[in-house]
Amino acid sequence: MKSLLAILSVVLVILAIWYVAAVPMNIAGSLTQAERGGMEVNPPGAAERRDISGWVLAANNPQAIPLTWAEKRPVLPAPHQVAVELWETTVLKKVTSKRSLVYHAWVTLSATLLGFAIGTGLGIVLAVGIVHSKVMDMSVMPWAIVSQTIPIIALAPMIIVVLYSIGVQGIIPKAVISAYLSFFPVVVGMVKGLRSPDRMQTDLMHTYNASKTSTFWKLRLPSSLPYLFASLKVGIAASLVGAIVGELPTGARAGLGARLLAGSYYGQTVQIWSALFAAAILASVLVGIVSMTERNVLRKMGLAR
């Protein structure tokens, strides 16, 4: 109960800051509109107001403040505008409609999941190789680290162009970019996890004359699972970012990234913000699903109580 109160007050504070911030950001536009509509504005004339700060304009024209929260194309839309847009584009639209956020979210989600699966698989395979082969450890690990130092926004167009030139398009390029972002945390976490059994545990396996294969399946893999799940949580969020970034340079017509891009082309800030929120909600749902799986699996394994 106490924690619920704390959570709610944080949310309320954020909403309050948001509403307050929308006033100076949108007031210039609102005043122009209001003046055209016949309202008394101080000082009159858009040119006069150009160099006056938003705060001062708001102080001089308190009657126009409510208008800043109801702009059609605000600089910063008010929270309820975003909420209404979200509601209208998810619940009130058919999911097959091109204007439905559910449709766009699904397009992005499918690339995210495919990319996450590829990234996780690749990450696990690389980690197994790195743990078992010194050569791989020294030759692959540096490249994996280097790969993450390149900004994905710079790399994404090239991946798409290269794949397009060999005839691959659609969901695959996006999934590749999202795999590119998600394999890394999995490699790092899995390497750490596979190496987590202590000396005594590996000695015990040695006394049984256990093969590397048995040691892997019976000791290393189960010991690595807590590390794997921590990585998966980072990885799935990175996958979503990757899929969205993958939609930006292609001029994709569908997906949350396409919604963001279209919104910014046409100055539809409400649409941008609602797409951002849709992405955030999607990410938290995905991370939540991984967390739940983690809790169930680890509890079943006696690793978490």
Partner: protein, 259 residues
Amino acid sequence: MSAPVIQASALDLTFQTGDGPVHALKDVNLDVQKGDFVSFIGPSGCGKTTFLRCIAALETPTNGTLTVNGMTPDEARKARSYGYVFQAAGLYPWRTIAKNIKLPLEIMGFDRAEQDRRVEQVLKLVDLDGFGGKYPWQLSGGMQQRASIARALAFDADLLLMDEPFGALDEIVRDHLNEQLLELWARTEKTICFVTHSIPEAVYLSTRIVVMSPRPGRITDVIESPLPRARPLEIRDTPEFIEIAHRVREGLRAGHADV
């Protein structure tokens, strides 16, 4: 008399460290006969654990010869000639007690029915029957250590190597486990090498007590125990017991004096 189970002669082991060589073992000579219960006692750094690890082929001596069942330690390891019990139980938290005991059996390729039969049998040996389905965290520390002994016994090696298995347990539990261990030893007729730093424990359990001293790690005394094999806990109050304990203490002190 048959050939000794363990035969060490002129055994040296030197670790190269940043601060120069450390003589973990120097000129160690020892025979362990079948059915013996040999304790290794000494202060930390005397090489008692290192010697046990050499027998298990977890360390390789730099000089001298060491045979286990007439083979090199590594051959003996590959022939699965010994079970090793560590200071910590080291049970897998994701396996039940029965599944933990099955671990070596699965690795060694025993069939299902045989696995079940052996688990049943060793659980009885360590007095844990009925606990097979429990997870390690549901058991006390003493019970966990018994389960780890059962795991070492499961594949029925003739030699049991124990590295301070009861070191982390309180004295009451330790007494109880010592008593059970003697019973188990009498019933299975295994050869046991037991590392400890407790004098009463060493005297109570052993047919022979090997006293070691550090820098370099070496054997300073080997005491043949005159106590009978059947030993109730009360034997610890007899004059014979106290006399052996005294001799062990003297040996430990002598080892320290000439450092």
